[in-house]
């Protein structure tokens, strides 16, 4: 019999305790839990208030040093292609065009003061493939490739996951390529002429490379142009 009454007493007290807890939470609903980051000393102490985060409208700030979306500051890129080679999943595709001597000033220098010697008409990162390992970042000599705190970059079309960072438009790239080809052809011609005068000992070897540059240049330009036009800039 005493157990019967003690059961009732326990029920009553536990129900009262439980209801007090829920009511406390109900009245705490005027507060939000706050957005103290994990770095905050009070992070685990903020237990009062609503904890729902209405995600697309509000988000927990991502850590500034986390590895999220890659970004290329293309103005600092020297086209060394080390990142492309380092990438374990081959998500980086780079094409470069050598800068002609008269364009060096136009091409400019990196923020570190290094002269850029390559145009980079194509610097594509397939974010869908990227596994954010950060190897490309660690090998970049000019620190132009780095992770940003952008964590949500979902797309409805997987094609939009291909990010283009090139610093030349299609037309510019073709112009530069043509210019380079012409200059190389010119240089080869001059070299051939100079070589023909100075060293008549190797005329047999000359004809082969001599027609090659224009032909190779044209063909190369054509293929590159095709590739470039195939990419959606």
């Amino acid at each position: 019999m005493s157990e019967y009454f003690s059961n009732i007493k326990t029920s009553a007290t536990t129900i009262a305790t439980g209801m007090a807890i829920t009511l406390k939470h109900f009245f705490n609903a005027v507060k939000r839990k706050g957005d103290a980051g994990i770095d905050d000393a009070d992070y685990f102490r903020q237990v009062d208030g609503l904890c729902t985060l209405q995600y697309p409208k509000e988000a927990i700030p991502t850590p500034t040093h986390g590895r999220y979306r890659l970004y290329v500051n293309i103005d600092d890129c020297i086209g060394c292609m080390q990142c492309e080679r380092a990438c374990p999943v081959e998500c980086i595709t780079i094409e470069t065009i050598k800068v002609t001597n008269d364009d060096l000033a136009v091409c400019g220098k990196t923020s570190g003061g290094q002269q850029k010697r390559m145009w980079v008409p194509r610097f594509d990162i397939d974010t869908a493939k990227c596994m954010t390992c950060g190897i490309c970042v660690s090998v970049c000599p000019t620190d132009c490739l780095y992770h940003t705190p952008v964590a949500d970059f979902s797309e409805f079309d997987v094609k939009n996951m291909l990010y283009h960072f090139g610093n030349l438009s299609k037309i510019e790239a073709e112009a530069k390529k043509k210019k380079l080809a012409e200059q190389q052809a010119q240089a080869a011609k001059e070299k051939a002429a100079a070589g023909g005068v100075a060293k008549p000992g190797a005329p047999a070897a000359k004809p082969a490379p001599k027609p090659a540059p224009p032909a190779g240049g044209q063909a190369g330009a054509a293929t590159v142009a095709n590739t470039v036009s195939g990419i959606d800039f």
Partner: protein
């Protein structure tokens, strides 16, 4: 049947109004509680419950449709209206279709004797309280029809549990209400309310005039939770065990009707407990000296306000309990009913009788 001339003036005037042979006034009297149930279920019942439960669980609840999700229920209703009304091929079609109807009618019939203020009551029966307790039992038939007609194991289990539970808990609930009837000396809802009216406001309520009334009050409240299948007595629809209990197979508007019936009976039991122990439509504010708060806050409109507010308060307590307590097991449910509530209600009955005799 009303003794005081000011009582039931609005509903009496309405019921006398007819166009030709058509008793339009009577229809309006019936429509007013119906519209009230629909509006309250739409706003406080569904949206309020979702918000209250969310706040108790540190969530935000519906936020997307309208400002703070205020139009969420409307969107849900539109969705339910568009849904296909499925009747399972192997279901007992007659019982399946008629189940929700009986369920809703059962909870709605009790609204006939609920006084919405001193001037409005559907029917001021001299056996009002008895009628309210009795007519609610029709719900059991509806639940059993729905559960059996669905031809579904979950639905049948839910229905059986629900019937066992409601029939059991009607005993302590009725004995508890009998205590209130003894205190009032009448079964008429308006007369019970009038017994608790006075310049002292809440001081005249049975809960505060009688030293034992808290016991039947608590017993009736607990039993009413079981009768409306609310947590912690929601084993008939136990989501984690029975999907949705007796309305597992229902979709579209039939589902909505079942929900409306549930919210209707939630308000009904809350109103009955307010009338029996907390003065119904009387104002809780007392007259303090020259400041006649009670007189200022009495009248037909204030009466409707107070009864609805008291009902809403108990609905809030129901929701509050729902988000606090886990579900009872079937044997615990029966233990609570037969071994705790029924003996205690008999004790309360005897004590109340002694108190009434000595006063």
């Amino acid at each position: 049947m009303s003794s005081s001339p000011s009582l039931n003036t609005w509903s009496d005037a309405l019921s006398g109004f007819s166009i030709g042979w058509f008793p339009l006034g009577l229809v309006i009297v019936a429509v007013i509680p119906l519209v009230f149930i629909a509006l309250y279920a739409l706003t406080y019942g569904v949206y309020g419950e979702r918000k209250i439960s969310a706040f108790m669980q540190d969530r935000l609840g519906p936020m997307e449709v309208g400002f703070w999700g205020i139009l969420q229920t409307l969107a849900d209703i539109l969705k339910l209206l568009q849904k296909e009304d499925i009747v399972p091929t192997v279901a007992d079609k007659f019982l399946f279709v008629i189940g929700p109807g009986i369920l809703f009618v059962g909870s709605f019939l009790a609204f006939a004797v609920l006084p919405f203020g001193p001037a409005f009551i559907g029917a001021d029966l001299n056996v009002g309280l008895f009628y309210a307790v009795g007519i609610v039992a029709i719900e059991v038939v509806g639940i059993l029809a729905a559960g059996w007609g669905s031809n579904n194991k979950w639905a049948l289990y839910g229905a059986i549990r629900s019937v066992a539970q409601i029939v059991s808990y009607e005993i302590p609930a009725s004995i508890a209400l009998l205590c209130a009837a003894m205190l009032a000396g009448t079964l008429s809802m308006q007369q019970i309310t009038m017994m608790q009216a006075g310049p002292g406001g809440f001081l005249h309520w049975f809960l505060f005039t009688n030293p034992i009334a808290w016991l039947p009050f608590l017993i009736y409240f607990i039993s009413s939770l079981a009768e409306t299948n609310r947590a912690p007595f929601d084993i008939p629809e136990a989501e984690s065990e029975l999907v949705a209990g007796y309305f597992t197979e229902y979709s579209g508007m039939k589902f909505a009707v079942i929900f409306l019936a549930e919210y209707g009976s939630m308000f009904m039991v809350s109103a009955i407990i307010s009338i029996a122990f907390l003065g119904g439509w009387t104002s809780p504010l007392p007259n303090i000296g020259g400041l006649e708060l009670n007189t200022m806050t009495s009248g037909p409109v204030w009466g409707a306000f107070w009864i609805i507010m008291k009902g809403f308060f108990f609905i809030f307590v129901q929701m509050w309990l729902r988000w606090t307590l886990p579900r009872l097991r079937v044997d615990q449910l029966m233990y609570l009913c037969w071994k705790v509530l029924t003996p205690f209600s008999l004790v309360a009955f005897v004590l109340t009788a002694i108190w009434v005799i000595n006063h």
